[in-house]
């Protein structure tokens, strides 16, 4: 049961976002820019970074939904998503993405854990400053989202089909559009 009164039957981050649309809007804008905006990393690669950090954070909802969105962008390859979550160094992904995931793993522990060697490795694999920046921020952002979702004890459905269906909608419409469709409670918006 959630720690505070959230709309019933609304899973994961969408419950608190309905309670507080004022903060939901910039959060979803940030997610859209980072995961779906114009980029040299594909949406699938960026979602893999998000899913990986969420898995390491042990956030059931975040890792399930972003894993499903990643798989949707990667031709439905759920096995690849699983292998990245479990052991990305041996997953079937580029050397550049492995180096970026290594940076994301450090950021998850603490920003201070990222070393010049981590950054050098990513550069040697062809990563740009822009890609390194966004990897750090994606990892940092998921450290926020996981804490938000779990810190309020939100509901995470167990059925994988729920996440597959939702992922298809997110991939088609984006994060901002999906939450814009929520009918917000007027009682909280003036608080």
């Amino acid at each position: 049961m959630p720690h505070i009164a959230l709309a019933e039957g609304v899973p994961g981050i969408r419950g608190p976002m309905m309670l507080r649309p004022e903060t939901a809007r910039p959060m979803n804008e940030l997610v859209d820019v980072l995961l779906r905006g114009p980029h040299t990393l594909s949406p699938g690669e960026r979602e893999l970074i998000g899913a990986y950090v969420s898995a390491r954070n042990d956030c059931a909802y975040c890792q399930a939904i972003h894993g499903a969105v990643a798989a949707h962008h990667l031709d439905g390859n759920e096995e690849l998503v699983r292998s990245v979550k479990q052991d990305f160094e041996h997953a079937g992904i580029s050397g550049k993405l492995k180096a970026l995931l290594a940076i994301a793993a450090k950021v998850r522990e603490s920003g201070k854990s990222v070393t010049p060697e981590d950054v050098d490795r990513a550069r040697q694999e062809g990563a740009t400053d822009f890609e390194i920046h966004d990897t750090v921020l994606i990892a940092a952002m998921f450290c926020m989202c996981s804490r938000y979702v779990d810190g309020l004890a939100t509901w995470a459905p167990e059925n994988p089909d729920f996440y597959r269906q939702r992922a298809a909608r997110i991939a088609a419409e984006g994060y901002t559009a999906v939450t814009a469709g929520i009918t917000y409670s007027a009682t909280t918006s003036a608080a």
Partner: protein, 187 residues
């Protein structure tokens, strides 16, 4: 030295914001709503939660700048915010704020650490659901900002209390939407 080529002479998060304005805009807006928007917790209280979490995350730039912002808000002072940073159970703040700081401290470690007892204690001291929500989100958001600032090894002026005091005054008075950090560029 920063890990990537960030604009020079801008301190901390402002250099990363200048590097990537597309992500800076929603990040600034989120800080503005959480720390300065309408709410039943004072801005000094909210900035103290942010400073406390940034201190636990050992982010020098964030804890020093938000410490100054907290001190510049009505009801805040450097003495008070330092008492909260280092020993909030014995700080001269309300029992409600102590209970919310306890929740923020749990969120800093991981969202799953927040227990029903933590929430119950906050409620017993008069915290509303929205205050609990915002406390969780402030703590979570600063786990993002802190990692962003340190994960890029942004330029961090040290031992410059005037710089941070002026920065905090601007953060408290002008807020986060205007790129206040630009005015703090080092000469």
């Amino acid at each position: 030295m920063p890990h990537i080529a960030l604009p020079e002479r801008l301190p901390g998060i402002t250099s990363a914001f200048a590097f990537r304005p597309e992500t800076a805009a929603p990040m600034r807006e989120l800080a503005e709503i959480l720390l300065r928007g309408p709410g039943s917790l004072s801005s000094a209280e909210r900035e103290m939660i942010a400073t406390f979490v940034s201190t636990r995350n050992d982010c020098y730039f964030c804890q020093t700048s938000h410490r100054a912002a907290a001190a510049h808000h009505a009801g805040g002072s450097y003495e008070l915010v330092d008492a909260v940073r280092f020993d909030y159970p014995n700080a001269p703040v309300s029992a409600k704020l102590k209970a919310l700081l306890a929740i923020a401290g749990k969120v800093q470690q991981g969202g799953k650490n927040v227990s029903p007892e933590d929430i119950q204690r906050a409620r017993q001291h008069g915290a509303t659901d929205l205050e609990i929500h915002d406390t969780v989100l402030i703590a979570a958001a600063f786990c993002m900002y802190n990692r962003y600032v340190d994960g890029l090894a942004t330029y961090t002026p040290m031992d410059d209390s005037n710089l941070y005091d002026e920065m905090g005054a601007r953060m408290a008075q002008e807020g986060y939407i205007t790129p206040a950090g630009h005015a703090a560029a080092m000469p």
